[in-house]
């Protein structure tokens, strides 16, 4: 055991088998208690230079100092806990937005409200040998976006900055 904790605790007759990832910069030199994201078992660890100097020792009934950032269950189709699942994984505050997707964000309008081609799928191209024109026919290519844009224009949502 080291900078993952593969939890083998038996809960209701089933082995927990959750892998808790202890990310290297946070835990490289660290002493304290950390919980398993799945079953909540609390482990005391003391890590020095990335090595488990002591632990993980189970500390039933004690409160964890922190949680892993990510955990998954490889024997269970890799179901997982993303960062910030309350009581299971550690929140991660240092993010670019208040929402976190981790998958492509479908965007049709820029922050100032004008059309930007940030969504899929797009209509197929008709160019020869991959050629692409120097204009974007929004009105005919994506009429629904065009219509929404007209509405935005009329309601004054489209800004210069």
């Amino acid at each position: 055991m080291c900078d993952i904790i593969w939890c083998k605790k038996e809960v209701d007759g089933k082995v927990c088998n959750t892998v808790n990832y202890l990310d290297p910069y946070c835990f490289w030199n660290w002493e304290g208690k950390v919980n398993c994201a799945e079953c909540g078992a609390v482990y005391y660890i003391h890590m020095i230079q990335g090595h488990m100097y002591k632990g993980p020792e189970e500390r039933p009934g004690e409160k964890p100092d922190t949680s892993p950032l990510y955990a998954d269950k490889p024997l269970d189709g890799y179901t997982n806990y993303s960062p910030g699942v309350e009581g299971r994984t550690r929140p991660f505050q240092c993010l670019p937005r208040d929402i976190y997707l981790g998958v492509p964000d479908m965007v049709k309008f820029s922050v100032r409200g004008r059309p930007v081609r940030g969504w899929r799928p797009q209509p197929p191209s008709a160019g020869i040998a991959g050629s692409m024109p120097y204009s974007w026919d929004l009105k005919n290519g994506s009429p629904e976006v065009w219509e929404e844009y007209q509405k935005r224009l009329n309601s004054g949502e489209v800004k210069d900055w």
């Binding site: 490289w28 820029s110 922050v111 191209s125 040998a129 290519g141």
Partner: protein, 471 residues
């Protein structure tokens, strides 16, 4: 024509020659700059490198940027990518969240990641599988019609494909050939490289970040700064070579190691080690040679109720600079730390490590119950230098950058409304300003324009090559 001495011409008299000139001479410097740089009217002026044509067989950021620099100054750049695949940088996107989707041929779900932005703007895009013998002729035709090429393949690859400088100088002695990559000739010649390798391998990472004494680790510059910065230095090599070619008519080959460029910006690190054996270390948010001149943590965020976590949690840092004696004295007075001034009156004393630890701790203690803007305002009101550490939103909203034109929205022909911070910000030129025409084009977007219109291949051939994925 000889001057007629009987005529008094206004041109010969000292002082302003016209009403406009009189105005100009009286104009405050600020106004004068605005008028000279004339932000927003870039397209009414010529471009410095008009007529230069450059081939860009590049990937990622480092070598592409070296060529984008000249594209922004008016050179015609042809970016060549592998058929269908394109530059791997097209697949990079922060946390997988941010892609632009062009009209597509075969892969409707594949976008181009934001990571591709800024390094290849204002260029033409074609595709070519240049290790095929069948494509050699087209490649050589382009060499004959161009001023230079920048490539980034592993050393010897272009040589194996018979398109290294050894071969192309025979076709075009004026050709300027740049190889940019990790290491260059020598024992680690074939080692691959990225920005981050430059940062780590060449020493920049060893001097950035908080020291382990304070619990810190070596920090990576979050931006791919060594890629960009090294690319710009290649541009310098290219431009210098162009000047020499004006004289001699001869091209050259430049072999540029990106990793090495990171060692170049370490300032006193090399001479200090060479003479005294002292190894420069990282020193967090302070300065090794000046004090006070550092970034401090303030107690409160400027935007505690903002939704965005960067505003909410991190608008808390201020850069404070008062290293000259009088400034430092004032700083100590304003922050109620008179004892520090008494203790560290001389520059030499307060720059010492222990003194810095004490001084910044006292400043952060003082700032503990204040927000970033309060800290900045108190110090500025005292006539000192202090500024907030700004985030991307604040930079976007900065009136300064808007007035100077460094950040602007462009109407990209392929993707629509895109905010760009590149090109215009790399330097103002009054008569031949840089500009950005489009952010990038799709893979092979200009195949017909180049293969058919410039190189003269019939359309049937262009289409055939495309079918076979040779282009």
């Amino acid at each position: 024509m000889a001057k007629d001495l009987r005529v008094t011409r206004i041109e010969d008299l000292p002082g302003p020659k016209s009403k406009e000139e009189l105005e100009e001479m009286k104009m405050p410097y600020e106004e004068y700059c605005r008028q000279q740089f004339d932000v927003g009217n870039e397209f009414s002026k010529p471009q410095a490198l008009d007529g230069i044509r450059w081939l860009s067989t590049t990937m990622y950021i480092f070598t592409p940027h070296s060529v984008a620099n000249i594209a922004e100054m008016g050179a015609e750049v042809i970016k060549i990518e592998m058929p269908r695949m394109g530059d791997p940088m097209r697949h990079t996107s922060p946390f997988n969240e941010c892609y632009l989707y062009p009209l597509h041929d075969s892969r409707p779900m594949t976008g181009a990641g934001m990571g591709f932005l800024g390094a290849n703007d204002s260029e033409y895009y074609i595709t070519m599988d240049y290790h095929l013998d069948e494509m050699k002729e087209a490649f050589y035709r382009m060499v004959k019609m161009s001023d230079g090429l920048t490539e980034c393949y592993r050393p010897g690859t272009f040589d194996r494909w018979k398109q290294s400088y050894r071969y192309v100088q025979e076709l075009n002695p004026r050709f300027i050939y740049v190889w940019g990559g990790g290491f260059g000739y020598g024992p680690k010649c074939f080692g691959g490289s990225y920005d981050i390798l430059g940062q780590s391998h060449a020493g920049l990472g060893s001097v950035t970040g908080f020291h382990e004494t304070f619990g810190g680790h070596c920090a990576k510059h979050s931006n791919w700064c060594i890629d960009w910065y090294s690319g710009t230095q290649i541009t310098f090599g290219m431009l210098a070579a162009l000047h020499w070619r004006r004289k001699t008519g001869l091209g050259t080959m430049i072999e540029f190691s990106q990793v090495q460029a990171a060692t170049r910006c370490l300032g006193y690190a090399a001479p200090l080690y060479g003479r005294f054996g002292i190894v420069r270390q990282r020193w967090g948010n302070w300065d090794t040679q000046l004090c006070a001149h550092g970034i401090i943590l303030c107690g409160k965020s400027d935007f505690p109720d903002a939704k965005n976590p960067q505003d909410k949690y991190d608008a808390r840092y201020a850069m404070v600079s008062a290293f000259q004696d009088e400034d430092f004295k004032e700083l100590c007075a304003v922050t109620g730390n008179q004892q520090l001034y008494d203790k560290y009156k001389a520059t030499k004393d307060r720059v010492e490590g222990e003194a810095q630890v004490e001084i910044y701790a006292a400043l952060e203690k003082w700032a503990e119950d204040k927000s970033r803007s309060e800290v900045v305002k108190i110090l500025q009101d005292a006539g000192l230098l202090a500024e907030p550490v700004m985030n991307d939103r604040e930079v976007y909203e900065s009136e300064h950058f808007r007035q100077r034109g460094s950040i602007r929205w462009i109407d990209d022909p392929t993707y629509g409304d895109v905010l760009v911070q590149s090109a215009y910000s790399s330097g103002l030129m009054a008569k031949t300003p840089r500009r950005q025409t489009w952010i990038w084009r799709t893979v092979g977007a200009d195949n017909v324009k180049i293969y058919h219109e410039m190189l003269g291949y019939p359309m049937s051939k262009v289409e055939e090559w495309y079918e076979k994925a040779w282009i």
